[in-house]
């Protein structure tokens, strides 16, 4: 284990990269996912068809296909993105597609009386979504959203494909050069486990806090 500790600075650099990637992906994926989810429910027919196609295509392919297509596609057409930007974009595209489904599912579970009541109060479309429907759908979204966040944290390990900087890459690099595979993998397992477990516990705690706010 001491060989891992001796390389802690390098591994910490990798972990910071992974955390940064995760933060960007969660924020971007969640926000665009909510917009797409609302579009999936209330959009006009062409918008709905477009988002539906996007969601189904992204969810039907392995994530690495999206990552590679974006990584090479952007550079082939001379759009200059850093590896971090392109992997963050690819993971966000993936997260947004899943988030859109989550939002659609939980918002359609809100009784239509809520929409009618909001309309009767004279709320227009976006205020209706923002202050009536989303707050009630939020507790329902919390569980799947937490799962998605854990999934995305695990998926950041796929950054090893295109960047030379993420946590799993730094583990793999050290493990190969030092020849102590098991020690490094054990360390990586512990780190991933602690992070993912913390995310899912935090999500469970938050959703328990949110429960009392549900109107029925």
């Amino acid at each position: 284990m001491s060989v891992v500790w001796d390389n802690r600075e390098l591994l910490w650099e990798g972990l910071k990269y992974t955390f940064k990637l995760f933060a960007v992906v969660v924020v971007l994926g969640t926000v665009t996912g909510i917009v797409f989810g609302v579009g999936l429910l209330y959009g006009s027919r062409p918008i709905r068809a477009l988002i539906r196609a996007y969601v189904d295509i992204v969810r039907g392919m392995p994530l690495i296909v999206t990552i590679f297509l974006l990584f090479y596609g952007l550079s082939a057409y001379e759009i200059n993105f850093s590896p971090f930007q392109s992997i963050a974009l690819a993971l966000s595209i993936f997260a947004a597609a899943h988030m859109a489904e989550i939002v659609r599912g939980s918002m359609s579970a809100i009784p239509s009386g809520q929409t009618d009541a909001a309309k009767a109060l004279g709320l227009t479309f976006w205020p209706r979504i923002r202050s009536v429907l989303l707050p009630q759908a939020a507790p329902l979204m919390m569980g799947p959203w937490t799962n998605l966040a854990v999934d995305m944290f695990k998926s950041t390990s796929l950054a090893i494909l295109v960047s030379q900087a993420d946590f799993l890459f730094s583990i793999q690099k050290r493990a190969t050069s030092k020849g102590h595979y098991l020690a490094f993998y054990l360390a990586a397992t512990v780190v991933y486990f602690v992070c993912c477990f913390a995310i899912s516990r935090a999500g469970a705690l938050a959703s328990r806090r949110m429960r009392p706010g549900v109107a029925s």
Binding site: M61, V65, F68, L69, S157, L168, Y185, T189
Partner: protein
Amino acid sequence: MLPDVSSLPLLFSLRLPYQLRWEYVLDHKEWFIDGLLLALWMSLIALVCGSVIGLVCAFARSSGNRILSVAVTCYVEFIRNVPLLLLVFIFYFGLPQAFPRRSDERELILTLLPTPERTFTVALSIYAGAYLTEIFGAGILSVSRRYLDAGRSLGLSRLSLARFVVGPIMLRTVLPSLSNTFISLFKDTGVAFFIGSRDLSFAANKVNTDFFRPIEGWVAAGVLYLLTAWIIAFALRFAEGRIKWSV
């Protein structure tokens, strides 16, 4: 195989710097077809092995034995919170290293897991087992108490209660989740090419590394993944609808 896609280059090749040339994919169709079949085969085996693991673990957890249920919970939580890629690395690079060179254990591991394909399938099975434990566990919980009471009053032992009462009833509620799991395992095989397994992503990567044609290779692989996943989903949903259940 890909006639509709091959009409695309005319659209793009007019002024963009990257010229799409599909002949690199079409000339090596066999890489993609073999890769697709291998991916399907690996995910099918992982589903079967994972279901066995999942069934055993789910019944072990619901048995009421404290040690067993703690062990199962540890296994499930461990797998669910670690990336599949790391798991694959552990099995492929780490496991043979756990034992000294030329020791019997190391030789045994290398004979049991001789190829990347085999190693990946084993890793994927263990990965699937954790998710399927949760699915079967939920299925067991969904079986109503009345059936259990009826079975007990017939004097069934715990084992035959599981085998003849809980199992068949649970299977109906679990079947849709099983087909979802199969599809997601099929998509998970995409990471197998990291360790050199010759699946569908390997074909795409080979088109990239051999001919510097990344877009064509990955688009072809993506379309194949997508179509296969849709066909599987459609076929399984159709099959589920056809099965006549009787209780």
